[in-house]
Symmetry: C2
Subunit: 199 residues, 2 copies
DNA sequence: GACGAACGTCAACACTTGTTGGCCTACAGA
DNA sequence: TCTGTAGGCCAACAAGTGTTGACGTTCGTC
């Protein structure tokens, strides 16, 4: 179905089109918000459409179906910066800092985590991000390739655990922590997972 | 399976009831399984009833409504043992060990985490467990009452992050870790969150 | 044996969901 | 000017949801 193509890349160029990208972006923004707060199932297309002030059928025309909408809403790469030139002992701190900035920048990652908890596709997407963003960093710091997956997994467990308790479950003490406090506490943990000799 | 009359499980009043607890327990078991794998919304009462080989209306009769069923399915206290008599330096290790045993014992906690990610009630229940099980342990180890919530929150972030990546998102490297490896890696982290001077 | 209560089933209700097709409107190019 | 195309809305569909009530069936107790 669909394959209606329309314009593939009209998000930025729209030479003489009608005013279209506006509502497309409105839909995406509303979708991200709903997915982030409600998860996949409870974020209904009707609610998203109402938030974007358009008809539910427009969502279908633009994004095919709900899965397509979700895929478009979370299609974003977090672009971790190149940490290759940092001293090895500072990678842990840089990782936490950037991770926090990413999560507080927009709601895409919260949506992704919330959906990943109940949706297989979401979980696999999360795995993909982990593999393409976290693992490469670990590779640079850890000389033994055999230990890379485990160390990366440990880092992910602490980072995602923080995101879970702070942005999803909203444990008050974790929400109350200042960003610098989080960095101060978590940086040594990650540094150890990255570079300490395997216990 | 007659169980004769000695089943004290039927929650209270009827001393000489009919054989009822059987299906009640079957429903609860099926519900835990479904909630753990599908989350709250996608775990339908019809599917749970089919798993338990009974009619959906029985679920309603026994547990009132879906919320009641969920509450009953996750109504379990994890009974962390008394760690008060342990040396302070070993509390971290004991915490991780027991946490792992709890999660692998049954699916209640996985269900709770999965639901908590998208359901407000589930999230609050998770907070309750955290407050009643984790915080008391931290209180015994940390002398400064003002630091207790933050330290407990940090512990929860690492522990729940491990559960998330291992039992919910199922990151392959984290799933592959042996239990002793997890203990070896996480125990120092928790120990530091518990007793190290605040950074 | 008779009675009543608990166990269990069936069919249906009211509602929400994702999804679809038809219709109207506005603008660009001829 | 006319026309085609895209933007947009409306009403409706089929499927699935939680939930309810009526009806039959079994068993303990009198």
């Amino acid at each position: 179905m669909n394959a209606s193509n329309s314009s593939p890349t009209d998000s930025g160029s729209g030479p003489a089109r009608r005013r279209s990208g506006t509502t497309r972006d409105a839909i995406l923004t509303a979708a991200r918000e709903r997915f982030a707060t409600d998860g996949y199932e409870r974020a209904t297309i009707r609610a998203i459409a109402k938030d974007a002030n358009i008809d539910p059928s427009m969502v279908m025309r633009y994004y095919g179906n709900k899965e397509g909408l979700f895929a478009a809403a979370v299609a974003v790469d977090l672009k971790l910066p190149d940490l290759g030139d940092l001293p090895r002992q500072e990678v842990g701190r840089a990782l936490v800092t950037h991770f926090l900035a990413m999560w507080e920048q927009n709601e895409v990652l919260t949506a992704l985590l919330r959906v990943g908890a109940t949706n297989q596709d979401g979980a696999e997407r999360m795995q993909g991000i982990f593999r393409e963003e976290v693992v490469p960093i670990v590779v640079r710091v850890c000389p033994d390739p055999e230990q890379v997956p485990a160390r990366a997994g440990l880092c992910a467990s602490q980072l995602l655990g923080l995101a879970l308790t702070r942005y999803v479950l909203r444990f008050p003490p974790v929400v109350a922590l200042a960003r610098e406090e989080i960095v101060a506490w978590l940086a040594p943990t990650l540094q150890r997972y990255l570079t300490a000799p395997s216990p």
